[in-house]
Structures are given as C-alpha cells and as structure tokens.
C-alpha cells in the first residue's frame, strides 16, 4: 500500500509538471499583455514594468524562472491587484468556493443517493418515475437557470435569503443548492442503475433466503456493492465543485475562485491564471488518488498493487 501511494505521488508531481509547462506555453501564446488595458501608462513606464517583472527576457528564461519559483511554492504576484501575492489571493477566494462546493457535494450526493435508492427499490412505480424525472431535469437544465429561478423564488419573491454577495453562511444556501443539482442527478442515476443490477444478483437472493428484510437487503447487502461506479464519477465532480463554479459564482456575486478566474483571464493576469490552474490540478489529482484508495476500502476485491495485502 505504501509503495503504491509513493508511486502515485511521484506520478502526481510528473503530471503537475506537465500541466504547468503546458499552461505556461498556452499563456505565452495568448495575445495581449497584462498591462494592455492600463492605458494611463506611457511606453517608457511600461518598459520599466516589463523589465521589473522580467517580461522582456526570452521565453525559455521566463519559463525556467517560473518553474523554479513554482517548485518553491511561489506562484508570483498578481498584476491586477497591485502586487498581491497569488497564493494568498487564491487561498482567500478559495475559501468561499470550497464552502459552496463542499455543501453542494454533500447535499447533492445524499439527496441523489436517496432518490436513486427509492427508484431502485420501487422500480417501475410512480416513485421511480418521479426520481428519474428529477434526475433528468438536474442533468439537462443548466445550473444558471436554477440559480436564477432560486434567486427569484427565495430572494425576490419570498425574501427569505439574500440575492447575492457574501454576507455569511445564509448567502451560501442558494448557490449551494444550484450547484447541487448536478451531483443529485448523477448520484440518482448511477445508484438506481447499479442498485437494480445488484438487487438481482445471487447473493441478494441468498440474503433474502437467510430471512433478511428489505432494509437489511438494501443497506447492509446491496448499497456498498452499488457504490463503486458512483465514486468513480463523483471524484472529478467533487474536484470541479470544490474549486469553484464560474457561472454560479458570477450569478450570485460570490467572491470565489471561479469569479476570480474569469476576471483574470479577461485582464490577462498571467500569474493568477497559472496559479488557479495549478490549484485546480492539484485538487483533481489528489481527489483521484483518494477515489482509488476508496475503491479498495469499499470493495475488498480491488487490491491496490504493490505486493502487500
């Protein structure tokens, strides 16, 4: 197990190196410069700034310097926020996004699993159709439509919750629900399909023959066996949610990382874009590693390679 994880961590750094290099090249291919919109600066002043940040050096030199700093954990400074340290900036913004994402993930997965279980246990009844309809709506209606609907109903119409901005936990409820629609739909569909298959297997018949009631059959025997495919798809979904949503954060004016990312791209804020991309990559890779370890926890047949049990 330890050997396996070590191997995975080495691969992780390799992937991050490749992602960083690739993003760097893409950034350099982008037209424009961080100072293009700063019309007040004269050409001489610009030259001074470029020189200061090393933007006049040949690209390989810039690349080597950037990667060197990255290895030390230094993401550089932002151009749009007066020399703000990128790491501090991202961590501050990420807090909001992570709260929204975590809430959406937990709430969405739980509701989705419940819907999927009901659908599978009451297959081909009104319950099943109802749950399937919710799942289809969740997948096909984009989250920004839900976001606007939620704002209209709960903020404008009922006036229960704030329309936007971050004013404490209350502000996180509506965006979290809007973000949860995806995980609800995914979890409901995967759990339904998998539960139906598991419920028709021989060992469920044997569990029935042992005198187990429906509750024991569903939760003690079937559920764990139905979880594997869901875990697989939830990994990337979790990474996506925790690192912020571009659209939903924009609609609710949440000062999260997603909103920041969009702003940085439009202002060509090179260091922040690179930093955000790296954060996102680390999240995704770590979550995929966690998912792989979870497989083994859930299903003893999936043994992680590395020789030991």
């Amino acid at each position: 197990m330890a050997k396996y994880i070590t191997k995975r961590v080495i691969y992780m750094f390799l992937s991050l190196f490749l992602i960083a290099s690739f993003t760097f090249v893409l950034m350099k291919l982008l037209p424009g410069s961080p100072l293009a919109s700063a019309a007040k600066l004269s050409i001489e002043e610009r030259e001074v700034v470029y020189e200061k940040y090393g933007l006049n050096d040949p690209i390989p030199v810039q690349y080597a310097r950037y990667m060197g700093n990255l290895a030390k954990g230094d993401f550089g400074v932002s151009f749009q926020y007066k020399n703000a340290d990128v790491t501090t900036l991202i961590v501050k913004k990420l807090k909001y996004s992570a709260i929204l994402g975590a809430q959406a993930l937990i709430f969405g997965t739980l509701i989705g699993i419940i819907l999927g279980m009901i659908a599978a246990l009451k297959q081909n009844t009104v319950w099943d159709y109802g749950s399937t309809i919710i799942a289809i709506l969740g997948i096909s209606i984009p989250s920004f439509v839900f976001a606007v609907l939620l704002q209209y109903v709960f903020s404008v119409w009922l006036g229960w919750l704030p329309v936007g901005l971050w004013e404490g936990w209350k502000s996180s409820i509506l965006p979290s629900i809007a973000l949860a629609m995806g995980p609800i739909a995914i979890a409901a569909r995967f759990i339904r399909t998998e539960m139906i298959e598991v419920l028709s297997s021989d060992y469920i018949l044997l569990a029935k023959a042992k005198g187990a009631n429906w509750f024991e059959i569903a939760f003690k025997h079937a559920f764990r066996n139905a979880l594997i495919p869901l875990i697989t798809v939830l990994g990337p979904v979790a990474a996506g949610l925790l690192t912020g949503s571009l659209v939903v954060e924009q609609i609710f004016a949440i000062p999260g990382i997603g909103e920041q990312f969009v702003k940085s791209i439009s202002s060509n804020d090179f260091a922040v874009i690179m930093g955000t991309t790296m954060f996102f990559s680390v999240f995704l890779i770590v979550i995929i590693l966690i998912v792989d370890i979870l497989y083994g926890v859930i299903d003893p047949r999936i043994r992680l390679s590395g020789g030991s049990k």
């Binding site: 021989d202 018949l205 029935k208 042992k210 187990a212 003690k220 025997h221 003893p300 047949r301």
Partner: protein
C-alpha cells in the same frame, strides 16, 4: 412418518411481455422428516420454481400463485405475511444455490455472512454468534476457521465457497434444506466432496433435504426418493430404487436411457428427441406426448392422472391405465427392470437391486 412440508396442487404462472407462462401446473409432493427428496428434470421443467415458491423467493411483480397450498409446520406458506415469512427463511427453511461464485456477498467478510442468520433468528450475542460460526466452519471442513472468518469471498475457491454457503444454510438447524443444484457449478472431485459433506451433515443435524438436480448420478448418490418433473408437472415419483429400476413414465425411460453407462449395449448414447414444451402455450394432454414414441391418442387430449404403482410409487402416464396396451420400454430400461423384484422383467437373483 412426519411430514415436514406438503405441497398441494400448486399452480403458478409468470406474467411476461410475451404472455402468461404456466410454469407450474398442479404439483403435489411431500417431504418427510430426515429424508432427501430429489427433484429431477431438464431446464424449464419447473424444479427451481417449485422450491423457490416454498421459500416465496420468486419476483412478486410477475408471479401469480393461482392455486394450491404449501403446508409447513401447520401453516400455509402462501398465505402468511411477508414478515412471518422472513422468520421462516433461514431459520426453518434454508437454501443453497447453484453457483457458489456469485452467491456470497463480495463486500462482506464471510464471518459476518455466517453470523447474520444467527444474530437475526437465534438472537445470539456477537461473541456467541462468532463462536457458533467458527463451529459451523469447522463442521463444513474449513481449515483455520478463526482466520478465515475475517476473509472475503474472493479469497476462497469454489468448493470452499459452497462449504461456506452450506454453513450459512445450516446455521439455525433448519427443518428443511433446499439445495438448488448445489454441485452443478463445481468440478467432479469437488462435487463428490460436497455431496459427502451434505450427506454427513444431514445425519448430524437431522434435517430434510430437497435436492434439485439434473444429474441422475447425483440422485442415485444422495436421494431417498425421487420426483421427476416435466413441463411444470411431476410425472413420476417413487423411491430411488423404484424410479431407477422400475420406471413407468416414458419420460423417465428417456432420461435413464440417455444416461451414459459402462455396460451399455448400444454404441450411440440415446437422446430424447425434440425440445421441452413451450409453457407460454402448453400442449393439451400429456406434455411429453409430442416427444414420446409411446404416445397414444388419449395422451394428446387429456392430462394423465398419477396412477399408483405401489404405496410409494406413482406415475402420470396413460400407459398405466388398465385399458392401455402392454408396451416394452427401451432396452436400457428393460436391463434395469430385470434387477427390480416386482417388475415384470425381474430375473430372480441375477443381480439384486443396486
């Protein structure tokens, strides 16, 4: 003798997209205390369905019990509630399935799987249940049971898994054990071990067994009595000797003739011509008539009742009617009947039964 279970005139249909499948069309049998009743027949003859209906394990949405009763311990199992049925399953009646590779839960330790019925039905404490499970594993011949309790099904071979399934089935000392082709998925040497184990355990815990199989060799090995099923009906029932050495139904003749034997006189192995009847549209009369060279006109029109051959031996064929012509069964069957005292081909002490 005490009857453990009595199936009376069971009629059952499945509702499918293609229509109503009349899977069981009036089945009667009983199992006595301590005996092994083998139910034989080809695929689709209704042997598994009959026993699953005893346990009420058939899918509720598509199964319709049209008639009959299943008497067990003074109760009709078809009439009691699902809750009461859960108390019977695994405690009074338990079951072993065909494929040990798929009948254990892959994500549960085998210890937990054996302990489950003990905790549920016998209300044992966890420590006691663990102790009893280790005893059970020892009983079914599993080496190092304490260590094995913590392992998962994929760490066991097919034969070992079937031993575990047997341990689960016997956990609460059931009155009736239903074994649905328990050796079919195993290779021959393991088959023999599992059969020995079952015979041995039956004596130890004094349970009755319904043994479903299509392997006549296995029947001869384990059973006290045999019921032959065809097209959703029992066509012949009797003791092993009666069915093997004095068979009366043409289908039983066909089955026995198609059994490979070392002293066979013919070179080619016999096979029953044709295919089993389509139970979506069951034939009128004797379901086997269309495949039988002994069929008479009445076989095409009326379902034969069970005619009595002896106190324990019945067969559903018009050939046993007093007005029926005398026919000679196939050669292989005559060879067998020569050894059965009471059959019309008996040749004295030429060989003796079995």
């Amino acid at each position: 003798m005490e009857k453990i279970v009595e199936v009376k005139n069971l009629e059952l249909s499945f509702h499918t997209f293609a229509g109503e499948v009349k899977a069981i069309q009036g089945v009667n049998f009983e199992v006595y205390k301590g005996e092994t009743l083998a139910i034989v027949g080809e695929s689709g003859s209704g042997k598994s369905v009959t026993t699953k209906s005893i346990m009420r394990l058939l899918p509720k949405s598509s199964t319709e019990y049209k008639n009959g009763e299943i008497l067990f311990g003074g109760k009709d199992l078809l009439k009691i509630s699902e809750k009461e049925m859960q108390k019977v399953r695994g405690k009074d009646i338990s079951m072993i399935f065909q494929d040990p590779m798929t009948s254990l839960n892959p994500t549960m330790t085998i210890g937990n799987q054996i302990m489950e019925p003990l905790l549920k039905h016998q209300k044992l404490s966890k420590t006691d249940a663990r102790k009893k499970s280790i005893e059970l594993l020892t009983l079914v011949g599993m080496p190092k049971p304490e260590m094995r309790m913590k392992q998962y099904p994929h760490q066991f071979s097919g034969g070992q898994r079937q031993r575990i399934v047997i341990a689960v089935a016997l956990a609460c000392n059931p009155k009736l054990l239903i074994a649905d082709e328990p050796t079919t998925a195993l290779d021959v040497t393991i088959q023999a071990q599992i059969l020995e184990l079952m015979k041995d355990l039956q004596k130890k815990i004094d349970t009755s067994i319904i043994f479903i199989t299509h392997d006549l060799g296995v029947v001869a090995n384990v059973a006290d009595r045999v019921a032959v099923m065809y097209g959703g009906r029992i066509v012949e029932v009797g003791t092993v000797d009666e069915v093997f050495y004095n068979p009366q139904h043409p289908y039983t003749w066909g089955l026995l003739s198609s059994m490979p034997s070392l002293d066979a006189t013919e070179e080619k192995l016999y096979a029953i011509p044709g295919t089993p009847p389509d139970l979506l549209d069951p034939p009128k009369g004797d379901a086997f008539a269309l495949r039988s060279e002994y069929a008479m006109k009445i076989d095409m029109e009326q379902v034969p009742p069970l005619f009595k051959v002896s106190e324990t031996h019945y067969a559903a064929t018009w050939l046993l009617h007093p007005d029926a012509p005398q026919v000679d069964p196939p050669v292989a069957v005559i060879e067998r009947m020569k050894r059965f005292p009471g059959s019309r081909y008996y040749e004295g002490n030429a060989g003796g039964v079995r």
